[in-house]
Symmetry: C2
Subunit: 492 residues, 2 copies
């Protein structure tokens, strides 16, 4: 199947029919409820021949597609696998050609009979000119218009698109994205890819003005050559981040029974990444971190960073971690060292790179004073600020912290967090040298304060500052980010 | 310096003198207060010639060591670097020979003058027969007797010892250990290692009956040959886990300015790990995970696991992650598959290995029914149960969850968590096949519930079940754990 621009209306449909909608909520995948909760802007038509009094969740239910009084921009098929073929015939009859088949139980089971069933619905679709997403997938997710089949929904839209052969990954990445400041233009879970494959959607996203970054989770791909051509071209203007599942032997076996994909061998995919400059991620965690990096950082001119931290052991560990991901920690120039040495005592500190200067983490004014000369240092191009989360609390009265009384603790925390965030944000926005500030929230001594990490993340993302949850994760993402731009510079 | 058994009394001292104790709490390192908070069982003698009315934190203060009315088992020196030499002379005069030098500002600064100062105190110590820990370190930490210089303190003792060249790492590992079910016999932060080095303490811990697992953070080591000999021997009875900081070029530079250590090259340390079978960890996170694994698992007979999960994409990703760390996911035998197939529908599931059976994660009785045949399968030796944290909540009324009203939410959560934990613990304790159950808490869709993860961890550790915070972390730790035992089996 090739991309068909006529499908584009399905990303902003005026009408959606849900075939197999039920009055009693299923344990999951209650699409009518999910669309309602998401504030879907179009009209929803529940279809169920058995809907006795003709109503489902307050909406008039219809016995079949043919009785819906207007053209249907998108049909979502949620009936059992064995009934899908006949629903597709109804689609053809009703001239409703954009079809998302949620139903599972086809080729992915590995059973002869069900593989044959998938082949048959493929033939029906072809004969009727249907444009198919799925089967065995969650379909389309477009926050801007409230179109979603997801349970959890964040209504904010953003420039990230996600093409996923796994509905689970699609749900988690789009659902938890907000925690990492990531918002979506479109996501598509396309499952067994009987109809459109990843390459088809890629063709669409390449020119989609709402999409600036394209992420993909792939298990198999039907036309590898087309994928390479497309990605190589798209990477010039929009970074493509690809997580390939099933690269290991055991993973490949699992992929076969998930989407029926014949997962490729690792060497082939190594070559794919090498030849296209595509950003490689291997876990969900990396997908979050790398995507967030592309969202919140402009290309970095070099791998040279200054690392701010606290604790000598932490500095050594931190330098190791950065170095393993290809970052460089050059010696600071004499002028910088002199300026820092003028107010930082030598005991228990280390005025080098990494900077082990716990003292400035306890006095927020010193922090600002320390950041400025480092930003001015011509040998470094960005500042990684590894902030133990306990710093945020170090200014709070110990009694308040120990009291565990929310009435005392929360306002004190609030003031302290405000002060720390204001300082960081002020520095970042006023830095005349425009060295990017990269924040790492490190777990520290003492019990974790519920909700604190999330709040700090949120506020910094809002100020357009990237935040990571460990130096390992930050370094890995930065390494991949820099590598992407190095490749693009070399290629152009 | 060689190990001196006369120092052993310092791990359970009847008397501790703190030289340089102050009435006004310093911003950190208030050792008198910390010992009091920890419920130190011995007597504390604050020493400060300027303590005007002779009292510090309710204790009688003494102008010098000589005036303390009884023998001192441990002296903690907290005066500025320049004053340390004269304090050591006082120690000699008072016949107080076990000395922890907290003071920093010596060789680690790289300054000629301060390197010379360290050399001088070394000579004084040698001449007077002092047994030195430090300088530039946090010293001894013995929860069982309330001896600690740490700010944060958990009084529970356990079988893990930690030797650390970084006071920060020592504080974080012992302070946060409880979150991972890790409790300590002894920890020593020994800084510049002017006196005892890691190998000396190793010698002591080798036969310490309270210590079953030895963890180390090293930047440099003075006698590499002795380290190899000791570790090779100790590994036969107590696993030794070593995190070597400063393995990379940039990390080595940082180590030089932290403890003055000449960090070795990566190849040398590669050989060390290979020749001794020592468990290698490269980050603090790995240190937590691997130590917890040794605490909560008996040796596994093989690398063959069954992976329980939810979501097809998750299964593929999970298999990849496990495979990358050397775990194996063999096909389940026919009997197992038949039994599982008898109650698990084929749609949206995958009855293989990994098991993608989200349905059993929504009905806790089905979970028990699914675990049993898998445990009986002769082809697998342990079960990794990747539990999306949202499972724990899936039984809670959606309205309660959305209400955010703690009065409604918390009791509902409580009941649900109880049910899930009871099921897991019941299975683990009653499993006649005695296949170890390994739990992975996976972040899932939806907002994180504050405190939930910590509670689940705590309860499972109490039931002696290992819990990890991601499958990546679990696989990596299990891989290292299995490798250790494989090495020991081969070596013996």
């Amino acid at each position: 199947m090739a991309w068909d621009p006529e499908f584009e209306v399905a990303f902003n449909p005026k009408t959606v029919a849900i075939v197999g909608a039920q009055r009693k909520s299923p344990p999951w995948g209650d699409f009518v409820a999910n669309l309602q909760r998401a504030g879907f802007r179009g009209r929803i038509y529940p279809i169920n021949p058995k809907a006795v009094d003709g109503e489902i969740r307050g909406l008039k239910a219809y016995p079949d597609l043919a009785s819906v009084p207007e053209p249907i921009d998108l049909v979502i098929v949620t009936v059992p696998a064995a009934a899908v073929a006949s629903v597709l015939e109804d689609c053809i009859a009703a001239n409703a050609k954009n079809v998302h088949i949620f139903s599972a139980g086809f080729g992915e089971t590995g059973e002869e009979k069900r593989i044959e069933m998938e082949r048959q619905i493929g033939e029906i679709a072809k004969r009727g000119g249907l444009r198919i997403v799925g089967p065995n997938c969650m379909g389309l997710h477009v926050p801007a218009v409230g179109l979603t089949t997801w349970d959890v929904f964040d209504p904010k839209a953003g420039p990230v698109a996600f093409l996923s052969q796994s509905g689970g990954h699609a749900g988690v990445f789009t659902g938890d994205g907000a925690r990492f400041g990531i918002y979506f233009s479109k996501a598509v879970s396309f499952g067994n890819a009987l109809g459109f494959d990843s390459t088809d959607f890629l063709e669409y996203l390449a020119t989609d003005p709402e999409t600036g970054i394209i992420c993909m989770y792939l298990e198999g791909v039907k036309d590898g050559k087309r994928l390479i051509e497309l990605v190589r071209e798209i990477n010039k203007t929009k970074p493509v981040i690809v997580w390939k599942g099933g690269l290991t032997t055991w993973g490949a076996k699992a992929a076969a029974s998930h989407t029926g994909s014949l997962a490729g061998e690792e060497e082939i995919w190594d070559a794919f990444y090498r030849q296209t400059g595509t950003v490689r991620v291997d876990t969900l965690e990396e997908l979050f971190d790398v995507t967030m990096t592309f969202l919140y950082l402009d290309p970095l001119p070099s791998r040279r960073i200054a690392l701010f931290g606290a604790g000598g052991g932490n500095s050594v560990a931190g330098a190791d971690v950065c170095a393993r991901e290809g970052l460089e920690l050059p010696t600071l120039i004499e002028k910088t060292l002199r300026e820092l040495g003028s107010f930082i005592p030598p005991e228990g500190t280390s005025i080098r790179n990494p900077l082990d200067i716990g003292i400035v983490l306890r006095d927020i004014n010193l922090l600002l004073r320390a950041l400025q000369p480092v930003a001015a240092d011509p040998g470094i191009d960005s500042i990684v600020f590894a902030m133990p989360i306990s710093l945020v609390l170090s200014g709070i009265d110990r009694a308040a912290l120990a009291s565990q009384d929310a009435q005392v603790l929360l306002p004190a925390m609030d003031r302290q967090v405000r002060k720390v965030l204001d300082t960081i944000i002020k520095f970042d926005h006023e830095d005349i040298h425009r060295k990017p500030l990269i924040v790492v929230l490190q777990a520290g001594m003492g019990p974790p304060v519920p909700g604190l990490r999330g709040r700090v993340q949120r506020e910094l993302y809002e100020a357009n500052i990237p935040v990571y949850l460990s130096l390992e994760r930050a370094s890995r993402a930065l390494g991949k980010f820099i590598q992407f731009h190095e490749y693009q510079r070399k290629a152009s």
